[in-house]
């Protein structure tokens, strides 16, 4: 992070705090939502993946409670297939802000026989995260989990509420969602239920990038153009480093100048060709881009209703 609240000097200002700019309106809305979580729930947690959306959430939470610290911990569900840059970044951020970080590993769920590792060409640990997440929610008795999902990412997400109630099994019943009226958020739940909260529901990918630029928020280096050993499959570029992504012998490894638009599980996150080495160039690239962000996520392409099915099972 570029600055922590304690380091920053408070300068007296006479300007009017405006809500006219688009990003500003979204920021105000997100801060309102995050404060509602702290006020309405006993044990909230912020789900942190090390990706740009969750990093943005951390910044918003800092702003919401300043000069107090963020009054809830972060939790990372670690697939074990993360980009090493993301993990380094995560640990540094947590230390700088003095936050509590909980890590739960998908590997443990596999070792305990709760989930079975997928195999073959399209194997991924992405959907295995759900079990680890639900177990962790139960272990810590979390009643609200703040996540960085946005409605513009995917069609099923477009219908998700800001406060989205999950039953005792962590499942989403899209037919029976609470209506959300005005900006009043109903967080009443029964014991055992929990609420998934999406403060940046109304942000688009470009909004997040513009905010990162405006706020000078530090993000992991893999979001910027870098040289990487990669191979091509189905018209997408996959990382051939770290041996995480399954590669056929005839799939040729080549060094390319790439960057990642999302940093999910390595096994299902493809890179894009890019020479955007700075945040300004990334914002420019996104603005001109004609492929949606999840276009580089193979897990959504499995079927037309892929996301909706995963959500019903408790996926974020």
């Amino acid at each position: 992070m570029s600055n922590t609240s304690t380091e920053l000097e408070v300068t007296p200002s006479i300007e009017l705090l405006k809500d006219t700019s688009h990003i500003n309106a979204l920021e105000n809305e997100a801060i309102y939502i995050i404060r509602e979580v702290a006020a309405q729930f006993e044990k909230p947690v912020l789900l942190f993946s090390g990706g740009k959306d969750s990093i943005t959430l951390v910044r918003l939470a800092q702003k919401a409670f300043w000069p107090s610290k963020i009054p809830f911990p972060l939790m990372h569900i670690d697939t074990g297939h993360n980009f090493p840059e993301t993990i380094e970044f995560r640990d540094r951020l947590v230390e700088e802000l003095g936050l509590e970080l909980i890590v739960r590993n998908v590997q443990d769920s596999i070792d305990q026989g709760k989930v079975k590792e997928e195999s073959g060409r399209y194997s991924s640990r992405n959907s295995l995260q759900t079990t680890t997440l639900l177990d962790a929610i139960e272990e810590f008795k979390f009643d609200a989990c703040i996540g960085g999902a946005r409605r513009d990412e995917e069609k099923a997400r477009a219908k998700e509420r800001i406060f989205s109630v999950r039953d005792d099994f962590g499942q989403w019943d899209e037919r029976n969602q609470r209506p959300e009226l005005f900006d009043m958020l109903n967080g009443q739940i029964e014991l055992g239920q929990n609420v998934r909260v999406f403060p940046i529901s109304n942000w688009t990918e470009l909004d997040v990038w513009s905010y990162i630029k405006e706020e000078q928020i530090e993000i992991p280096s893999i979001y910027f153009a870098h040289k990487r050993k990669t191979f091509l499959r189905d018209g997408m570029i996959w990382s051939a480093e770290d041996g995480i992504v399954f590669r056929e012998e005839d799939e040729v490894v080549e060094e390319r100048l790439v960057r990642f638009r999302t940093v999910g599980d390595m096994s299902c996150t493809a890179a894009v060709l890019s020479d955007a080495e700075t945040i300004d160039k990334v914002v420019e690239e996104i603005r001109d881009s004609s492929i949606s962000e999840r276009g580089a996520r193979i897990d959504d392409k499995r079927s037309e209703a892929a996301m909706e099915k995963r959500k019903q099972q408790g996926y974020f």
Binding site: L17, D19, H22, L26, R35, F65, L181, D183, Q188, S290
Partner: protein, 415 residues
């Protein structure tokens, strides 16, 4: 750049999803992979045109039935504005979704099929938009291509709609008529030469031209305390900030304020947004306020300007839009969530059901079913600090929560 949230309403087959898809397409907001998916599916279904409705109908059930069943949010932007479209279904039974979508919108599109004209559904959509006091409404007369772009047809529909306008409660609502063809793209984003008799703006041009004053009513500032910030660190030992969102107007440093319910007076000392101090906080900003005096305030309390107090009362009458399958009846208890304040409420009396279609047939009833709209009086276990909905869209509204299911079961507009 500003955000404009638009609620859309129309009956099944009015072409609402096609209209939204068309807006996305003509503003180049559809990404190539999304467009590819639409092309692929349209081809599979044997269409010789692009089925833009596929861009918005997100849930499996919707794709199967070919209809929209819940509120979906669609995002696109121009150089001038960011748009959020709350796409709400048009079935009779889905009044609740329309009210939900409209409750957060500043503008609305009512879609009419040019072949069918004003139908009962149109009345309902208009009634709800008017009930929720949406300031700007566009009546889009769609499928003009199927009536040979007839000016006569357009004028006849317009005249029918104007009859409805005479009956509306909220007369300040601005209404604009636009002839469109979502399928062909006429007058949606781009002008067409098919309607030379129409000289007004296209749908998008209309929204692009809207100004803040066209969208928000002037109001009085209300500051419900959301969260109390007390860091108790060495550096900020005595800091006691009241976090919340400013509604309805501006608050400035030096303003004399009254805390409710205690009626204690104080003055605004500082306004923070994050770690920066500001002189004035505008409406809808999420700030932290400190006061000159140490007064006791907690979540649900409210700060207001000393010369502009809301009503403080334990009872009120409201228009209720009921959204649950279990009926609302006199004697039932609910939680009223008014902003961030929650109080227990008892239904005193269900006065009468309002026909939500301008038919004027109000009926006596003592219980409300799903999608009913009615006048209901409530008694609360402690006072709330409210304004009439017609004067304050935020401080005059509330939601009802079922004490057993915890579900949101109704929306209320205080009279």
């Amino acid at each position: 750049m500003e955000v404009l949230k638009i609620a859309t309403a129309g009956s099944v087959d009015d072409g609402k999803s096609t209209l939204i898809g068309r807006m996305l397409y003509d503003t180049k907001s559809l990404t190539s992979d999304k467009l590819e998916a639409i092309e692929k599916t349209s081809k599979q279904k044997g269409y010789d045109y692009l089925d833009f409705s596929l861009a918005t109908d997100g849930l499996v059930a919707e794709r199967e039935q070919g209809i929209t069943i819940d509120v979906a949010h669609i995002y696109f932007s121009t150089a001038k504005k960011s748009y959020i479209i709350a796409d709400t279904p048009g079935h009779v039974e889905y009044t609740r979704n329309m009210v939900t979508g409209a409750s957060t919108s500043q503008a609305a599109i009512i879609l009419i099929d040019a072949r069918k004209g004003v139908i009962e559904q149109t009345n309902r959509h208009f009634f709800i938009n008017n009930l929720l006091r949406i300031k700007d409404v566009v009546v889009a007369i769609n499928k003009m291509d199927l009536v040979d772009y007839s000016e006569e047809t357009y004028n006849a529909i317009k005249a029918d709609f104007e009859e409805l306008m005479a009956k509306r409660d909220y007369q300040d609502q601005k209404i604009t008529f636009i002839p469109v063809s979502a399928l062909k793209g006429d007058n949606v984003v781009n002008k067409t030469d098919k309607t030379p008799w129409y000289t007004g703006p296209t749908l998008l041009e209309h929204f692009e031209a809207l100004d803040r004053k066209d969208i928000f009513n002037a109001g009085t500032p209300r500051f419900p305390v959301q969260y109390v910030i007390r860091p108790k660190t060495d550096e900020h030992h005595d800091f006691r900030g009241f976090a919340g969102k400013v509604y309805g107007g501006e608050l400035s440093v030096g303003d004399e304020v009254v805390a409710l319910p205690s009626q204690t007076r104080s003055t605004i000392k500082e306004i923070y947004f994050h770690d920066k101090k500001y002189k004035t906080a505008s409406r809808r900003s999420s700030v932290t306020i400190t006061l000159d005096d140490e007064i006791n305030l907690s979540r649900g309390d409210m700060l207001v300007k000393a010369n502009d107090l809301p009503t403080v009362d334990k009872q009120f009458t409201a228009t209720i839009s009921w959204m649950d399958s279990l009926p609302l009846a006199a004697g039932n208890k609910y939680i009223v969530q008014h902003g961030v304040n929650k109080v227990l409420a008892k239904v005193e009396q269900v006065h009468h059901k309002i026909a939500p279609d301008y038919s004027g047939i109000d009926s006596e009833t003592d219980a409300l079913g799903m999608n009913d709209i009615a006048q209901v009086s409530f008694r609360l276990n402690k006072p709330i600090f409210y304004d009439q909905f017609k004067n304050h869209r935020t401080n005059g509204s509330f939601i009802l929560i079922d004490t057993k299911s915890n579900s949101t079961v109704g929306a209320g507009f205080i009279q």
